[in-house]
């Protein structure tokens, strides 16, 4: 086994084990089985898959993880508290642009004429992610305070508006983030390991381990980073939702009156969960920005960043974190798969009209919209139902 296959295998084992731990049913043998299957799958994938396919799988998994994280964030808002947030795209964009502005180096000299931005702090990746979380929390708080004490449907109208306005700001304000031109050169964490120059803060054995990788293999490293982030977020959300706080959220959602009678501060609880979900969306935005390197306002279209996330959560099962993540990957798979489908039906469309093949992409919208309508009509609880009892002290009764 050559060293390149070995290192790729080691990197692939981590996401594979985590995926298995998510998919397998919650039995005592879950963790050992996940480790064994994941390890085998990781090394087999590294050794047997052709490089092109492997690269596609890795990029698919990275985008799937971004969406799974958005879906988790929406789940704390909609699934557990019943907030109708139709502005996921807004918080996603705020996270992405904040992290980008914090980590990019401010342009100087000639470059400053082509790229304008309010500030570029040249900070490390983790600082960028933390800043993204903080700024989306602030934005969410500002939206939540006037709206959340009112009827639920007002939140939907307000958030759809906020997302649109955030997009307009990044489109029009050149001084802020170079809009409408893209913001380029967002640094990637651990990029130094594959570029050949040594990361001074990394221990020697890690540098030696990553040595054989070329810049083309960088997405593998990023996949490990993002799946670790996703796992941590998943565990935090899962823990929070099973805690007394999470059960209070469900009480407020299901019966506001009796929750209030039991002394729960309804408005504060709602604001907390809305901000919590927005923080997760902001982190997802930061991870997205550092993956794609170049972002502009058009990435945060309501279709890709709000509507798809809703389809994911509704399909997976609202009120169920496992369902949210699995739904994220399934719908991202459907969305990516329909790209092949539309190119397949293009010749057929050409027979009907000359214009149609160019518009084949919109058939994907149509399919996804029908998917959501179908879920709402026929299975609103999604693939995996919400658990009735979430406290670990009551399990098995």
């Amino acid at each position: 086994m050559s060293s390149i296959v070995l290192i790729k295998g080691i990197l692939l084992v981590i996401p594979a084990v985590l995926l298995m731990a998510l998919v397998l049913p919650p039995r005592p043998w879950r963790l050992p089985a996940a480790v064994v299957i994941g390890a085998v799958a990781g090394f087999v994938a590294a050794a047997a898959l052709p490089p092109g396919i492997l690269a596609y799988v890795v990029s698919f998994a990275i985008m799937g993880s971004v969406y799974a994280m958005l879906s988790l964030g929406l789940n704390t808002q909609w699934g557990y508290t019943g907030h109708l947030n139709f502005g996921v795209a807004g918080f996603f964009a705020v996270g992405a642009f904040t992290s980008a502005l914090v980590t990019v180096e401010a342009p100087t000299g000639m470059a400053a004429q082509y790229t304008q931005m309010a500030f570029g702090l040249d900070m490390p990746f983790l600082v960028g992610v933390a800043a993204a979380a903080a700024v989306s929390a602030v934005v969410a708080f500002l939206v939540a305070v006037p709206v959340l004490r009112l009827r639920m449907d007002f939140l939907a109208i307000a958030t759809i508006g906020v997302a649109e306005i955030i997009r307009l700001i990044f489109q029009n304000e050149r001084w802020l983030a170079n809009g409408p031109q893209p913001l380029r050169g967002i640094p990637q964490p651990l990029q130094c390991a594959v570029r050949g120059d040594v990361c001074e803060w990394l221990p020697a054995w890690a540098t030696a381990l990553l040595e054989p990788l070329s810049p083309r293999d960088y997405p593998l490293i990023y996949l490990v980073i993002i799946t670790l982030f996703l796992a941590v977020v998943y565990m935090v959300v899962e823990r929070a939702c099973r805690s007394p706080w999470g059960r209070m959220l469900r009480a407020v959602r299901d019966d506001e009156g009796s929750a209030a009678m039991n002394g729960k501060p309804i408005t504060y609880v709602r604001i907390q969960s809305f901000v919590f979900g927005a923080v997760i969306m902001g982190i997802a935005g930061a991870l997205y920005a550092h993956y794609v390197v170049t972002i502009d306002y058009s990435h945060f279209h309501a279709l890709f960043a709000t509507f798809l996330v809703w389809v994911m959560l509704m399909l997976g099962g609202s009120g169920n974190n496992r369902g949210a993540v699995i739904g994220g990957f399934i719908v991202w798979g459907v969305w990516s798969g329909t790209a092949f489908l539309t190119s397949a039906i293009e010749p057929l469309l050409a027979l009907i009209s000359d214009d149609l093949p160019r518009r084949a992409a919109y058939f994907r919208w149509l399919l996804v919209a029908l998917l959501l309508a179908g879920i709402v009509l026929f299975r609103p609880q999604g693939l995996i139902r919400e658990e009735k009892v979430v406290s670990r002290y009551l399990r098995g009764r």
């Binding site: 009112l150 007002f154 939907a156 307000a158 306005i165 809703w310 149609l356 919208w365 709402v376």
Partner: protein, 357 residues
Amino acid sequence: MNGGDPANTAGGMVLREKRPGERLREVVQTRAFLLVAVAAVFVALVALAWAQGVGGERLLSLVAWGLMLGGIIGLGSIGLTLVYGVLKFPNFSHGALVTFGAYFTFALVALLPQGQTLRPLSFGWEFLVALVLAMPLVGLVGLAVDRVVYRRLRNQNAHLVLFAMASLAMAFFLRSIIYILWGPDFHFYYPGRANPALDLPLGIRIRADQLFILVLALVLMAAVYLLLERTRIGKAMRATADNPELAQVRGINTERVIAWTWMIGGALAAAAGTMYGLSSQLRPEMGFWLLLPMFAATIMGGIGNPYGALVGALIIGVTHQVSSAFLDPTYGPAVAFVLMVIVLLVRPQGLFGRSGG
């Protein structure tokens, strides 16, 4: 209701000293205070425009354009507020109905024989015929969506949020059909046909088409008024919007009322879309851009109140145009949004809603 002093009781009700917060809320949540707040925003915008060196004549023109835009938004939001009142959910696909109206007129204009241009307007008779035909067609689209999606949800006694989500799905569904049928590029009803501005007294410069839009909006609104006040179905509609259970008890056929609501709402949305397309151009997202102003007008006027929506729409339209004197006009939705947030903060039931709602 705690901490009060139950000393004086009158008619079975406990009277007590009001806390300062409650007293403040009572002052703030009045219609007058909301009007003052909205007026303050407007005056601030005019002052800002003045400070940027925008002349009085231009401001007057902007107000005239704002009334036209308000008419367009108002026609759209009448349908939105009727659906909100009768069916009790925010219909996020209403913007798509507006877009459909504009494109149906576009398709019909291309099919009909081209007549003489009605100077100084930029269009001929075929445009008016197309508009009249497009209005019931869009009503039928709304009705068809209701039959396939919303009626099923009604029969399941689904929660409001599922309706809202289904309407979001339908918004994307209808928009994708528009993209498939007409493509993503923008269109004009009459490409390259000039429509110079007329010079009216007081230095107001306005195009003949814009005047036509204003007149048509007034005519349609008068028709809506007659329909709601004078016909049986209109009265039934208002009764259902006000209190569906009571309306049903009094023998009103709710399903028939709902069907009429979609027809009227769709027809007015078609008119709004066509006029918006005439005043600028046709794009697949045009209805989505109008959605936020329409919702703002609906909330400002009080949900379920078509006249309130109209007043709200005129306020929003004028504010939007005046703000465009110094702000990028693409920020129009943001202006509408700020007004909406003010309404939600001050008086969530809107200008004409009952207090305590």
